[in-house]
Symmetry: C2
Subunit: 610 residues, 2 copies
């Protein structure tokens, strides 16, 4: 497809010069560009295709960056990136754009987003700042219905309605988060959608009336009062209006003319408005419309067929799901909880086999954790399966609800360590530091599936909060002599005064590095609390190297060093950790950059042996 | 007052034998007991007085512990404690009861609570466990309207409504959290309250009808259908019903007969029910009814007058508020945010002087933090003033929304360190460990008001997240020679090979200990990131003692040790930190118990000098 219209847009405000037909053409071209580029690199496809008209209409009506658009979760911002002058070729890969809003890329990305449900809070802050400064400019938050299960949306709505700011919240309702939506709010939105006819009628009538000069507006005014009365009587006011928002919608999120009219009205209202639009995830690309979950975050695929270019491998997530099913077959107390990540965390089979013991709570990690603690208090053995980065949301609940009075909750921490293309907002490099602050927590970090199974069995037969963390990866083989005994720690003696300490997948790298350098290796399986016997082994070495996929402050390496220091160790202890926030790039490149790869290990030892 | 009825209750089920008159008498006696005992020790008075009838009626209708009552926040459980056989004499003091539910005290306290908005999540977990086990028993959650501004309540409601469990949520609506309530939900509840007459009519009619044997029930059935129809038409269904709850109320929360009838009906319904009751905070004690904020958490007072026994001193919180007002006078970008703690965090004056720059967001720490980041993105200089323990709720927001792309947000962290009578759920011993995991965060911990002022000025003129943390305490004087220069660190040289390191209020103890032992002292003002020059000073000492009011993992002491280890230090480094969760007791006793008092410091040095 030629991108004639798109190519003429030099500045986002150029959109405002286009007519409806051209705008529709622009949408087609944007879709084509997104499908083309995402098929090459992978990325969030379905949500981006659903948000094309929405994005064009927003930029048509509002004046970004003065009227900023804050994208919730942020993975639907590709059209926005293109329209604001960015090339999405190579998105999510090193040197390419981030898959999420990023202010260093563009002044049109005012606020970062990778975690859900933050947009209204951020937009309200910006809107209040404008109000204080005397500006009448609008601030737009675009939030999906999936994110509406998150408590922050409620907290923000509870404050926004009364704020007298020019805040426009666009509820992009596609009946999905990553998995299909759950919960009362999803049902409620479905109820509203079924009333769609009403708004269509109202909108068309209004549009016609407003075309009549002078008289049109006053007739419209009278009619509007009457219609509002009828609407309130027959449809009752809705929840958003209870919150103090003016509610507009539901509107067809793929009809550019309707969207522009609706957003214009929202902009005029000069108080908080909620615009409810219906969109179809994957819109305009058949494979994605038919299977939006697969095309939510997708690997590179053949554009024509929608088939993945590389078959997906059996991963730690899959292994976790399978082991859990086996354990649950023998123990009817085992329950599983996910926060809208049934597929991602490998729980699909469990959810089918044990529906009565499976709970998808929506994007609601805080609730998920305390709910798990409640299940435990009721005698169940719950596992909360969650990405490391999203577990950050539940820190207080792990501490306050599950640890002050210990509850036997297992945490299945997926995407632990460096994650790759998702970048800064999704790195699993903080769970170890925060979990180790909480008295009574136990943490396992398996290096392969067999160890994962052992760790899960241990976790389910222990007490208190038991975390098992594993990477977004598949297991890799190690040199034979580094066969693991799967004890709390395994020690492999080398031939010099250097020892490498590692856990999880870094143990694989460590074993190869040790083979090449003939140094010793300490593999930690139960990474917290640390067994003191390890200190006795390690303190004999002149050079100790700890490699860890975590930020340094609060890392196991730091806790280990603390024990070494107390033991009177006086050799060289070197910590190799993740430094700061890790941008999007392939995992292996990030490992290299942060000095966590095999080569870095070999160099460290060789340097010491000089 | 004689406690004739109360004294006869040997087991909580004895309540079920009492008639209405006796139940009313029991309520009077409970009130008397609570006022008497809280006047001696201090504690949460107003909320407990408001919940007396509610508590009696719940225990009359439900069978605790098989039908557990989960108290949200938990500070309204005194009547519950008394009725379940516990003596509240000396509550919140060492050896006395906890001021919050505590399962080690009683099987009737199934779930801990000190932070708000967790009860429905926990109760839903227990209810699902009962459902899986085939039990038809109810589970009750009692939640105040104040806690309803917290996102977890929404997340839990979103899941609970469809759960088909026998969950009974009692919404104890007293129009207050700690400060008067804010937000759309508060307004919405007020709207419902204004319709109270309807329920009274319905309830009275039903009560009369049900007294007619045989016929009464069927007439009632027909009438109920009609009334439901009318109710839906005229009152519209309410938000709770959208969530899938059966809504009962609003009912008079001080009318024991109405409460019993309503709870019985809720128990019969066998699906999630929300019972909305109206209570008066401080009910039955004039000074508390008139000033519920003062009597929310109150120090010992004279029962007759309500006057405090000891005048409250000018505290770090007050100093923070005053300094902030001064800064805000000169800088109109400074905004202040509180999560329902205007008084507690010393912001009252600010809220009056600068209402347009003051935001009480309700109990909603997650939103508060991201909202602050939004204000910063809009060009303001926000401070989020929050208790250390509640900041735990906002970990992900500090990291994801304010640090990945640094936003200039100041955190005023009150109640940092050991807090005293509130105990485990409220200790400020985790903020340092979690904040130091986040790249780019700066932390100050002043030892007195002058330093607090300097730190706040620094924080407002820097970039990124700037935390200033101070204790629930007032400043204390130090020996003259330990006059502070208020640099990032101050070094005081002694006469032996021992050095004590401390910050915040522990520096006062350290200075006295150093005076007595002639050892050196390092006072850290900017506690994170650590200045490397300090390592050069400290590594010369054979004995280093770090005293810190924090858990050890992730503490500054640990980070400091890490730097020492890297520097090749081979002396004795001893960390004295808080061990585990600290129960309720006076701060000075907790300090002693955890080896953080002056005496412990002196002994440590003397031991080393032997």
């Amino acid at each position: 497809m030629e991108h004639d219209i798109l190519n003429k847009i030099k500045c986002v405000s150029d959109i405002k010069k286009l007519n409806i037909e051209q705008l529709c053409g622009l949408c087609d071209e944007l879709r084509d560009e997104i499908i083309e580029k995402v098929s090459e690199t992978g990325g969030h496809l379905a949500s981006n295709l659903g948000a094309v008209e929405l994005t064009v209409a927003l930029h048509y009506v509002f004046d970004s960056p003065d009227e900023p658009i804050i994208w919730d979760v942020g993975h639907q911002c590709y059209a926005h990136k293109i329209l604001t002058g960015r090339d999405i070729t190579g998105i999510r890969t090193e040197g390419g754009l981030s898959g999420f809003p990023k202010s260093s890329e563009s002044e049109h990305d005012l606020f970062v987003a990778g975690h859900a449900s933050t947009s209204i809070s951020a937009a309200l802050g910006i809107a209040e700042a404008k109000k204080i400064s005397g500006s009448e400019k609008s601030v737009v938050a675009v939030v999906g219905d999936g994110a509406c299960s998150g408590g922050m949306i409620f907290e923000a709505m509870n404050n926004a309605g009364r704020s007298r700011t020019n805040l426009v919240v666009v509820l992009n309702d596609n009946e999905m988060s990553i998995s299909p939506n759950v919960g009362a709010m999803a049902k409620y939105l479905a109820d509203i959608r079924s009333r769609e006819g009403y708004f269509h009628f109202k909108d068309a009538l209004e549009h016609t009336l407003l075309k009549i000069p002078f008289i049109g507006k006053s007739i419209f005014g009278i009619l509007r009062s009457i219609k509002t009365f009828f609407k309130d009587v027959f449809y009752s006011s809705n929840t958003f209006e209870h919150f103090g928002f003016t509610y507009l919608g539901p509107a067809d999120g793929h009809d550019i003319a309707v969207l522009i009219r609706t957003f214009r009205r929202a902009k005029q209202i000069k108080k908080p408005v909620l615009v409810h639009i219906n969109t179809v995830k994957g819109r305009g690309y058949d494979p994605a419309e038919k299977n939006p979950s697969k095309f939510h975050g997708v690997a590179p695929f053949y554009k024509e067929s929608g088939e993945l270019k590389n078959e997906s491998k059996y991963s730690f997530s899959s292994a976790f799901g399978n082991i859990l099913c086996e354990l649950a077959e023998k123990d009817d107390k085992i329950c599983a909880i996910t926060a809208a990540m049934t597929d991602g965390t490998g729980l699909k089979e469990f959810s089918k086999k044990y529906p009565e013991r499976f709970f998808d709570v929506g994007i609601a990690e805080e609730h998920a954790m305390t709910f798990a603690a409640g299940l435990a208090a009721g005698g169940m053995k719950p596992v909360f399966s969650v990405y490391s980065t999203f577990l950050q949301r539940a820190y207080d609940q792990i501490l306050h609800d599950a640890s002050i009075e210990p509850k036997h909750v297992v945490l299945g921490i997926d995407r632990a360590g460096i994650v790759g293309g998702d970048g800064e907002t999704h790195q699993g490099t903080f769970d170890v530091p925060i979990l180790t602050t909480i008295p009574g927590v136990t943490i396992y970090s398996p290096a392969d599936y067999k160890e994962l199974e052992k760790d899960m069995k241990n976790a389910f037969s222990a007490k208190g909060v038991q975390a098992v963390r594993y990477p977004r990866d598949f297991e890799k083989t190690i040199p034979e002599k580094f066969f693991k005994n799967y004890e709390d720690f395994d020690f492999f003696e080398g031939k010099n005064d250097c020892i490498i300490i590692a856990y999880g997948r870094l143990f694989v790298e460590a074993s190869f590095a040790a083979e090449e350098t003939e140094s010793s290796v300490l593999k930690i399986g139960k990474i917290f609390p640390l067994e003191h016997e390890m200190i006795e082994i390690v303190k004999k070495y002149k050079n100790v190297f700890f490699f860890e996929e975590s930020v340094e402050n609060g890392s196991i390496a730091e806790h280990f060093g603390n024990l070494l220091l107390k033991s009177g160790y006086d050799g060289n202890y070197k910590i190799h950790c993740v430094s700061g926030f890790v941008p999007h790039m392939e995992v292996k490149n990030a490992m290299k950059l942060h000095g966590l790869d095999r080569e870095a290990m070999i160099n460290a030892v060789k340097e010491a042996l000089k």
